[in-house]
Symmetry: C2
Subunit: 400 residues, 2 copies
């Protein structure tokens, strides 16, 4: 790994540097009065918001750091992820410009991407936790998934050109994070795992479940080998900005050519966390989001297929149905992996971690672990998003 | 495609140039008397044999041509295949040096690979057609397959490094040839197809068989997306030099990261051509080769897995068995595609084309087409190489 090798031109910006860069690039009118704040959560990237005091216009300058601050400077992280993020945003904008931030400028050596400021929107996870139900979220995400994935797959893209894109998006360092934290560590007694001691028995059940491990191995192998489409690679509700009218998918630094079901499954899983965290009477709207995500995905993917498929076999009876069935099955399995890893692995979700009181939080996490296992093991017999509801119900009964 | 863009340094060698190059590189002792013959079949490459008249020592200088002569200079073909071939030979030699020609030198700009001369051996296809049964062929090929494929897969190779190899072996031009000629054209009325008019009815049956086309679409998608291991990509019996002691696999210019079953299936299919071409009393030895190829593959792959697997899930009960089952199933399907395309597509095999008299040739090709279709459609229920025999028998009965 050359992950921590800084390129010679690289140095981290500060707020004055960010303003100077914005001026040099003439991103604001001449003689604008600019202010700048670093607003990142600071784990992986610097995020500068540069604003014209008079007009209120603003932009975001995002710069990758050569390490992950979450564990100090000792976890090096390739700056190449900035190139991946910029190129993924530009590629996605070819198909769904309405759902991604506009990119104004990028610099590979400095690991900088300058883009549209989206701070008028809210992170979808936070909105959903607050009970703001984001009525268009699933409509938009279903379309985002269908179009970005279809048009970068061998079904909808020139197959020769697709291979040059596969090469461009080889992303070993970021994929390794997913391979370890999503598909491996939570299934073994590994020191990156992080969970309440009250879950110890449930966690050990996972570690001892040979069927679960076999099915997880198969899903990990799909993640490692199935170069189906340019996936976002980290499409949880924390990677989505939204309000009641608008939805923007951000942070595709994990993008690479992987299984379509991976993105779909992460959306399912992160909506399911929100379901689990809610009181039963408020769950319906999130179940509806899950169903709408899939329904819109199917409709938009099928439309694109019928209109724009380049693969000559696309016209063969049953092929589209087969592809959709396989995507759903894999999405269910990937959702199961995401649910387990966000409950006991290194990176948690606020939906579960903010549940009060503590006893309810633990009980909900027990349901999550059991649900995740069931989704992984039974993914072949789960064929519609409506079944998630039954599975959650059954699991809750069996755990409590 | 920039396939026909000659790099500025490139020019084709002639025989004097080949001798001069060998001298410059000091590949022979000083003052050796060298002769040179161009011995290629001349379709895609120049092949010079340079020989020391006194000692008899010789080497091969292989140079890629920027076009395929088979259809005149109008079919451009990337010189990059020379880089792929050299790198594949070097990679394979890390695991099975005994089964690949030694590489002495390569030059990317000139698209040249200089390697061991294997002309003391015979092309396996020709040997088998002559009735020379090459007793160690399947033992060696089974081991070649197991080791080259296991140790370049995510099971046996560092998964981070594997991704850099995937990038190095992105091979769009040569993959496109396979995608078109193996997985597409023979299943549609395409002008690259080439078959006797007596087969018209059988060919139309293929074009009209929607189930067959759906299953072929799935196999093509695996070829397009499943980056499982560094496959040879063109492992027919014409890519194997052998005698009764030695086996060498040559010409890996189609190498890329694809499904393990693709290489295995091409071996199966090309042995099956030889079976079909033989009188029944001489078929047993070739059926044995098919079974031995698979048995040795399973044994060697399993040994490597148990000894050297880097994937932590490799120890999970049932995972190795699952992987082997999937490889076999896919190999059966890929074998079916190879059988159909070699019978009615652009590139034929001598095993079938030299069958006399004409009526028997046609009848055998009818069996081949039916067998190929059955293997594709029934690949999930064919679980051992012993079943090939039944399928050939049944197909022969149903066709005649």
């Amino acid at each position: 790994m050359c992950a921590n090798k800084k390129s010679s031109a690289y140095e981290p910006l500060n707020e004055n540097g960010a303003i100077a860069l914005a001026k040099k690039l003439q991103l604001f009118e001449e003689n604008s009065q600019l202010t700048c704040n670093e607003i990142g959560d600071g784990n992986l990237n610097l995020v500068f918001k540069v604003k014209n005091i008079e007009s209120g216009e603003s932009i975001i300058i995002k710069q990758a750091l050569p390490y992950a601050k979450v564990v100090g400077e000792s976890w090096p992280l390739t700056l190449d992820r900035s190139r991946i993020e910029t190129n993924a945003l530009l590629k996605q904008a070819e198909f769904v410009p309405q759902y991604v931030p506009r990119v104004f400028y990028s610099d590979e050596a400095l690991a900088i991407t300058i883009m549209e400021d989206l701070s008028h929107l809210q992170i979808a996870r936070a909105a959903l936790i607050e009970g703001n139900d984001l009525p268009l979220l699933s409509q938009h995400i279903g379309e985002f998934l269908a179009k970005t994935l279809f048009y970068t797959s061998d079904y909808g893209l020139n197959q020769h050109y697709k291979k040059t894109l596969v090469k461009q998006f080889i992303n070993p360092d970021l994929c390794k994070i997913t391979e370890d934290l999503v598909f491996t560590d939570p299934f073994f007694n590994h020191n990156t795992n992080d969970y309440e001691q009250e879950l110890q028995q449930d966690v050990e059940k996972i570690w001892e479940d040979q069927t679960l491990k076999l099915e997880t191995a198969k899903l990990k192998q799909l993640f490692l080998t199935k170069a189906e489409a340019l996936v976002h690679g980290d499409l949880h509700t924390g990677s989505i900005f939204a309000d009641e009218n608008e939805t923007k998918v951000i942070d595709p630094e994990f993008a690479y050519f992987g299984p379509i079901g991976f993105d779909v499954g992460q959306v399912f899983a992160n909506l399911l966390f929100n379901v689990l965290a809610r009181n039963p009477e408020h769950q319906g709207v999130i179940y509806n989001h899950i169903e709408t995500t899939w329904d819109v995905f199917v409709t938009e993917f099928s439309n694109a297929w019928n209109k724009d498929a380049l693969e000559i076999f696309a016209k063969v009876d049953g092929y589209l149905e087969h592809v959709l069935t396989e995507i759903f099955e894999e999405a269910v399995g990937f959702a199961g992996c995401e649910i387990i890893r966000r409950t006991i692995g290194l990176a948690h979700v606020a939906d579960l971690d903010t549940i009060e009181p503590f006893e309810r939080r633990i009980a909900t996490k027990q349901v999550a672990l059991s649900l995740g296992s069931e989704l992984i093991k039974n993914r072949k017999s789960i064929t519609s998003p409506q079944q998630f509801k039954e599975y959650v119900k059954q699991t809750a009964v069996s755990v409590n």
